[in-house]
C-alpha cells in the first residue's frame, strides 16, 4: 500500500485505517449494510400499512421522518456526504435482481440496459420528484400508510428501472432524495477521488468502468479519473475494489472543497436544485411551525381548493420567486463585475453559494424537529404498530421536547455558520473570476444580500 497523501490538506482515511480498508474492500461491505438497513425500513413499511394511523405512535413515521431524517440531515450528509447512498436499501432489490446475486453476482447484468434519455441526464427529474414529495409532505410525514406507500413506490420504481435501464440510473437521475444528498455532499469533509488522474489515463483496462473479479464497474456510470466533486459519486466503493492500481482513495478534506468550482452553463438544473432546496427549507418551518393555521390546513389537504392555492404558491415560490430574486441579485452583481461571465453562467456558478446556507437551514430545521419530536421514538420502539405492545418497557414514555429553551439559539448559530460559509463561497467564486479582486465585492455583494435576507427570514421563523 502506498503512503497516504496529504495533498491539499487531504488525508487518505483508509490508508490510515487498514482494518477499515479491508472491510470496505470486501464485496460484502455494501450489501451487508444495505441488509442491515433493509430490516428497519421493512418494519417501517409493515407498521405503516398495518399499524395505527396515529403518526406519532407509528414506527413507520417516527423511524423514517424523525430518526432517519435527523440522522441523515444532521450527521450523515454534512459529516459523511453521500454515505447514505452507500447503505440505502431502496435501490438494493433492483440492483440484486440486476446482478443475480447479492454479494458479488454475475458480471453480466439482468437488464434491458437502456440508456437514460440524453435530455434527462441532469437533475430535473430529481427536482420534480422532490417538489412532488414536498407538496404532499404534510401528509407523507404524518400518515403512516402514505409514508409506507412512498417507500414502496420508490423501491418499486427503482426495481422497475433496474430492469429497464443500465446500472443505477434510478439513483443517478430519478431518486428525489439522492438529488439533494448529492448536492449537499459537496459541503462534506469527505470525498472519494483518485490519487493521480494520470494513472487512470495511462491504465488501459479501466477496471473501474468494466469491473473485475473484485467488484462491479461503476454503477453510477462515472469515470473516477475525472471525478472532481461529490455530486456525481454514489460512494458505492466499487471503484475502490476494482482499481488494480490502488489509485482510488477516500479522503478527509476541508469542508466545501467542491463548492465554487467551474460549472457548465448548461447545468442550470443544479442551480435550481440549490434554489428549490433553500426555498423549501424556508417554507417548511413557516408552514409547520408558523402561526398561519390556514396555510397549514391547505398544506395538509384538508380541502382540495386550499391545497391548490398552497401548491400554486409553493411552486411559484420555489420555481419562480426564489430563482427570480437570485437571478436579479446575480445580474446586478455582474453588471458591476469585470468577470466576463454571462448572467446564466454566473447564475449557475453563484448558486453554489446557496448550498452551505441551504444545508445549514435544513440542519436547523431537522435539529428543531428532532429535539421536539425525538421522544416519540421511545414509545415507537416498544410499540412499533401502536397495538399496545410494550417490548422494552417504554410504551408509556410521554412526549418530551428536549432543549426547548436552547434549541432556537442552536438553530440560529447553525444558520449564521451557514451564512458565513455561503458568503465565503460566493467570494471564492468572485475571486476565481476576478483574481485581481477589483470588482469582486461589487459582484458578490448582491448575492450576499440575498443570502442575508434568506437568513434573516429563517432567524425570524426560528427565534420568533
Amino acid at each position: 500500500m502506498r503512503q497516504s497523501p496529504t495533498d491539499g490538506g487531504r488525508l487518505d482515511v483508509l490508508g490510515r485505517m487498514p482494518r477499515l480498508r479491508r472491510v470496505v474492500l470486501s464485496r460484502a461491505f455494501q450489501p451487508v449494510l444495505m441488509l442491515l438497513l433493509l430490516a428497519p425500513f421493512a418494519l417501517a413499511v409493515v407498521a405503516g400499512l398495518l399499524g395505527t394511523s396515529a403518526g406519532n405512535r407509528n414506527f413507520g413515521i417516527v423511524f423514517v421522518w424523525i430518526v432517519w431524517w435527523a440522522v441523515l440531515m444532521v450527521l450523515l450528509v454534512p459529516g459523511l456526504g453521500r454515505v447514505w447512498c452507500t447503505v440505502c436499501p431502496i435501490p438494493a432489490p433492483g440492483e440484486w435482481i440486476q446482478r443475480r446475486g447479492i454479494i458479488g453476482g454475475v458480471a453480466k447484468l439482468r437488464t434491458l440496459g437502456l440508456r437514460w434519455p440524453r435530455r434527462l441526464r441532469n437533475m430535473w427529474v430529481q427536482n420534480a420528484g422532490f417538489l412532488m414529495l414536498a407538496l404532499f409532505s404534510t401528509i407523507i410525514l404524518t400518515r403512516p400508510s402514505v409514508s409506507a406507500a412512498v417507500i414502496v413506490g420508490l423501491t418499486g420504481t427503482a426495481v422497475g428501472m433496474s430492469l429497464l435501464f443500465e446500472k443505477r440510473t434510478f439513483c443517478k437521475y430519478v431518486c428525489p432524495i439522492g438529488g439533494f444528498i448529492g448536492l449537499y455532499s459537496m459541503v462534506a469533509p469527505i470525498e472519494l477521488r483518485v490519487r493521480d488522474a494520470q494513472v487512470c489515463v495511462d491504465h488501459r483496462s479501466k477496471d473501474c468502468i468494466t469491473g473485475n473479479e473484485n467488484g462491479y464497474g461503476c454503477p453510477w456510470m462515472i469515470y473516477p479519473g475525472k471525478l472532481d466533486r461529490n455530486l456525481d459519486c454514489g460512494f458505492c466503493t466499487e471503484c475502490l475494489k476494482t482499481c488494480t492500481m490502488d489509485n482510488v482513495v477516500i479522503n478527509l478534506r476541508r469542508p466545501g472543497t467542491d463548492l465554487g468550482k467551474p460549472v457548465s452553463a448548461k447545468r442550470i438544473d443544479e442551480a435550481f436544485k440549490a434554489l428549490i432546496m433553500l426555498a423549501c427549507s424556508i417554507i417548511y418551518p413557516a408552514v409547520l411551525f408558523g402561526p398561519w393555521a390556514t396555510v397549514k390546513e391547505w398544506a395538509g389537504i384538508e380541502s382540495f381548493g386550499g391545497w391548490l392555492i398552497y401548491a400554486a404558491a409553493f411552486l411559484t415560490a420555489t420555481l419562480v420567486f426564489m430563482p427570480g430574486l437570485f437571478w436579479l441579485a446575480v445580474s446586478r452583481g455582474q453588471k458591476r463585475s469585470c468577470s466576463g461571465l454571462t448572467i446564466r453562467q454566473a447564475f449557475n456558478e453563484y448558486a453554489h453559494a446557496l448550498i452551505p446556507l441551504g444545508l445549514a437551514s435544513w440542519i436547523a430545521f431537522s435539529v428543531g424537529f428532532a429535539l421536539t419530536n425525538g421522544s416519540y421514538a421511545l414509545a415507537a420502539i416498544s410499540d412499533p404498530l401502536g397495538w399496545g405492545w410494550n417490548l422494552f418497557g417504554t410504551r408509556e414514555a410521554g412526549w418530551t421536547p428536549y432543549l426547548s429553551g436552547t434549541a432556537p439559539a442552536i438553530q440560529a448559530a447553525i444558520l449564521l455558520g451557514g451564512l458565513i460559509f455561503s458568503v465565503r463561497t460566493s467570494l471564492r467564486i468572485g475571486f476565481r473570476h476576478d483574481p485581481s479582486g477589483t470588482t469582486t465585492m461589487q459582484a458578490t455583494a448582491p448575492v450576499a444580500a440575498f443570502l442575508l435576507a434568506c437568513t434573516l427570514i429563517l432567524l425570524r421563523l426560528y427565534l420568533g
Binding site: 441488509l35 433493509l38 430490516a39 398495518l50 395505527t52 405512535r57 397495538w387 399496545g388
Partner: protein, 319 residues
C-alpha cells in the same frame, strides 16, 4: 465458493426480513401474545363511527370469566366507559394509545362499552355490546324491565310530545329554600316519586290550595326548590358533563359545541322545565328522543344514575 455462501446467507437474510418481519408481527399479535396471556384478551379497534366505530362491536363472555378488553384508539381522542352500573371509565385515550381493562363479570346481562368524549358528529353511535351469559342458564339474557317507562306507556303518555314552554316563569331556587319554612307543603310534594310524575306547575297548584294567603312568587320559588332537590353530587355532574354537555351545554342551555350539528336544536332545560314531568325526562334519557339525535342511555346508565340525572336537570333549570 465464499461468494456463493455469502449470497446464500444474504438471501436467507432477505427472506427473514421480508417474510419474517410481517410474520413475526402478526404471529406475536394474534397468536403468541394471546397464548401468553393469563386470560382471554380482546383487541378492539376504536375509531369514530364514520370509520367503523368499535371493531368488534360485540364481545361475548361467560359469567365469572376474566377477560381483558384492549381499546386501541386510532384516529382522535376517545373516552371509553363501560356500563351500566360497572363504574368503569378508562378516561381519555389519545390516538395511538391503548386503553386496557381486565374484568370479571359475575352478573349475566347486556353491558355497553361506549365513547364518552365527543369525537365526531356521530359520536353517540359509538357503542359496542358486552354480552355476559351464564352457560348454565337457558336462553339469552333479557333486557330488564323499566317500571317508570312501562307506567308511562300504560298511561298513554306521549313521551315525544312537544313540551309546553315555561315562558316568563323564572323561579328562584335559593329564594324558595329560604321561604320553604314559611309555607305549608302538602305531603305528596315531599314525595320524590310523586314529584317524578308531576310537573312543577301541578305542584304550584297544590301549594296554592294550601297557602291561599301566600304570593305566587314565593310559592313558585318554593316549588322550584322542591323539584331541584337534592343537591347534585360531583359524580352526577361529571356524568352530565361527559355524556350530555356536548349537545345540551355545560349549564343545560342547549348550547353545547355539538348543538349545531344535531337534527333538532337540543333542548334548553329551563325553557321547558315548568311544564315537564320528571318521568318523561327519565324516559328520554333511558330510551332516547324519537326523531331527534338524542341517543338512548338506557344501556349505559343505571336506573339510579338516570334518576339522579333527572334531579340534576331540575337543578340546572332553576337558578
Amino acid at each position: 465458493m465464499t461468494q456463493t455462501r455469502g449470497n446464500r446467507a444474504a438471501l436467507v437474510s432477505i427472506v427473514l426480513i421480508l417474510v419474517g418481519i410481517p410474520t413475526s408481527i402478526l404471529g406475536y399479535q394474534y397468536w403468541l401474545r394471546p397464548a401468553l396471556a393469563e386470560h382471554r384478551v380482546i383487541d378492539i379497534a376504536t375509531r369514530v363511527p364514520e370509520n367503523g366505530g368499535f371493531s368488534p362491536d360485540l364481545v361475548r363472555a361467560e359469567v365469572g370469566e376474566t377477560i381483558t378488553l384492549r381499546f386501541a384508539v386510532d384516529d382522535v381522542a376517545h373516552g371509553i366507559a363501560i356500563g351500566p352500573g360497572l363504574d368503569i371509565d378508562l378516561g381519555q385515550i389519545d390516538p395511538g394509545h391503548v386503553g386496557e381493562i381486565t374484568l370479571t363479570l359475575d352478573t349475566p346481562g347486556i353491558y355497553t362499552y361506549y365513547c364518552n368524549t365527543w369525537c365526531s358528529p356521530s359520536h353517540w353511535r359509538m357503542r359496542g355490546i358486552l354480552e355476559v351469559v351464564d352457560p348454565n342458564a337457558s336462553g339469552s339474557a333479557d333486557a330488564p324491565s323499566d317500571p317508570i317507562i312501562e307506567a308511562l306507556i300504560a298511561a298513554s303518555v306521549d313521551i315525544d310530545a312537544e313540551p309546553q314552554l315555561s315562558e316568563g316563569i323564572l323561579p328562584d331556587r335559593s329564594h324558595g329554600e329560604q321561604s320553604f319554612e314559611t309555607v305549608e307543603v302538602p305531603p305528596n310534594l315531599l314525595d320524590p316519586t310523586w314529584r317524578l310524575s308531576h310537573t312543577p306547575a301541578e305542584g304550584l297548584v297544590a301549594l296554592r290550595a294550601k297557602n291561599p294567603g301566600s304570593g305566587d312568587d314565593v310559592l313558585t320559588d318554593v316549588t322550584a326548590y322542591l323539584w331541584s332537590e337534592p343537591t347534585p353530587t360531583i359524580e352526577i355532574k361529571e356524568l352530565f358533563a361527559k355524556n350530555c354537555a356536548a349537545c345540551h351545554g355545560e349549564r343545560g342551555a342547549g348550547d353545547g359545541p355539538a348543538a349545531t350539528s344535531t337534527i333538532e336544536t337540543p333542548v334548553a332545560f329551563a325553557d321547558v322545565a315548568w311544564f315537564r314531568r320528571g318521568d318523561i325526562w327519565y324516559a328520554k334519557i333511558r330510551r332516547g328522543g324519537m326523531g331527534t339525535d338524542m341517543p338512548n342511555f338506557g344501556t349505559l346508565f343505571t336506573v339510579e344514575e338516570a334518576r339522579l340525572l333527572v334531579d340534576y336537570l331540575w337543578y340546572l333549570s332553576f337558578k
